[in-house]
């Protein structure tokens, strides 16, 4: 994978100096969508996700990071994104943004409802719980990788993930029950 990234070596010094443009573009093509998805679900705001994706890559490049592998680069990117998301939530008390209607969600009406409920329930979770669920179930990072990205102990990830999942499941169940009662 290191070869894939084509880590550039400066001729003058023989010292590694991060990625070259082609390698960066390749990394971007493979990681931008998952990173966007992670930030969008962690913040609940698609427009903000656009900005934070850009800022994540910008910081990644400015850091002149020398990844050992593509996975290493991806982990580092997700760590930067996590910090940006936290900075976002650490700022002044943010107004709860309305969940954006997404016309790309097609399919069965039930599925659309489910997705809508999921987004709503996700936004009721704590940012860290959302991050845990996304990294564990969508990106399928190992517990060790999740711990590195979120700055937690690897041994605690399993339980934290379990609790976040249980909380989300309870919220979805509750939402489902309300819909059934209404109809």
């Amino acid at each position: 994978m290191v070869d894939d990234l084509a880590i550039q070596t400066t001729e003058a010094t023989g010292r590694k100096s991060g990625l070259d443009e082609a390698a960066f573009r390749a990394l971007y093509d493979r990681t931008a969508r998952p990173l966007w998805g992670y930030i969008a679900r962690a913040t609940g705001n698609d427009s903000l996700a656009d900005d934070l994706v850009q800022e994540s890559y910008f910081r990644f490049l400015r850091a002149n990071f020398e990844p050992e592998s593509e996975d290493h680069a991806k982990n580092y990117l997700f760590r930067i994104a996590t910090n940006l998301v936290r900075d976002h939530f650490r700022g002044a008390q943010r107004a709860q943004l309305p969940l954006e209607h997404d016309p790309s969600v097609k399919g069965h009406e039930h599925q659309v409802h489910l997705q809508h409920d999921l987004r709503r329930a996700m936004m009721q979770l704590k940012p860290r719980e959302r991050e845990l669920l996304w990294l564990g179930h969508v990106e399928r990072f190992s517990h060790k990788e999740i711990a590195e990205i979120l700055g937690l102990k690897a041994g605690s990830i399993r339980l934290l993930l379990f609790r976040a999942r249980k909380k989300l499941a309870a919220m979805l169940e509750e939402s489902n029950r309300s819909v059934e009662e209404d109809s």
């Binding site: 573009r25 998805g37 969008a40 910008f58 400015r62 999921l118 969508v138 399993r158």
Partner: protein, 159 residues
């Protein structure tokens, strides 16, 4: 419902993700609420993940690359000129201190010159020979001191 994750959860998740659920794991899944919850949430989050926009809608990597490179060049230039800026500041400070000491040491001369200058200014329009014939050292020293202090101030203000 127990408060700990099921020991078979990882196996179940790997198996369902790869459509490789064995009969034994299926039986477990049917009875374990923790595992069935994990599988349901996994499915839901996976389908939610497919909602990510096309790459073409995301920020252009070329622009990010150029901006980051510009930023890196600016940082490199800043780092490279830091010793020069530090040397300039030290030189200005040394010059200012030197001139201040010089002025203090030749203070009687400076004082008499200032006195003559005051008199000459009071007689503007009259005889200026007194001013012109005075010792030029304090004038030069005073001007240099002013310039050095002004330079030092500008340097500090700029950064």
């Amino acid at each position: 419902m127990r408060d700990r994750p099921c020991a078979l959860e990882d196996q179940i998740l790997v198996a369902t993700r790869s459509d490789g659920l064995t009969a034994e794991l299926s039986r477990h899944l049917a009875t374990c609420r923790s595992c069935s919850e994990a599988v349901s949430i996994d499915d839901l989050l996976q389908s939610e993940a497919r909602r990510a926009p096309e790459l073409s809608r995301l920020p252009d990597p070329g622009r990010i690359w150029i901006q980051a490179r510009q930023q890196r060049l600016l940082q490199a230039a800043d780092r490279a000129t830091r010793p020069i800026r530090a040397a300039e500041k030290i030189a200005l400070a040394t010059g200012a201190v030197g001139l201040a000491i010089g002025t203090a040491m030749s203070w009687p001369l400076v004082r008499s010159w200032l006195g003559r200058t005051g008199t000459a200014l009071a007689n503007i329009g009259g005889d200026t020979d007194g001013l012109l014939s005075t010792n030029p050292v304090p004038i030069i020293a005073g001007t240099l001191l002013f310039l050095v202090l002004f330079g030092l101030y500008s340097e500090l203000v700029e950064g």
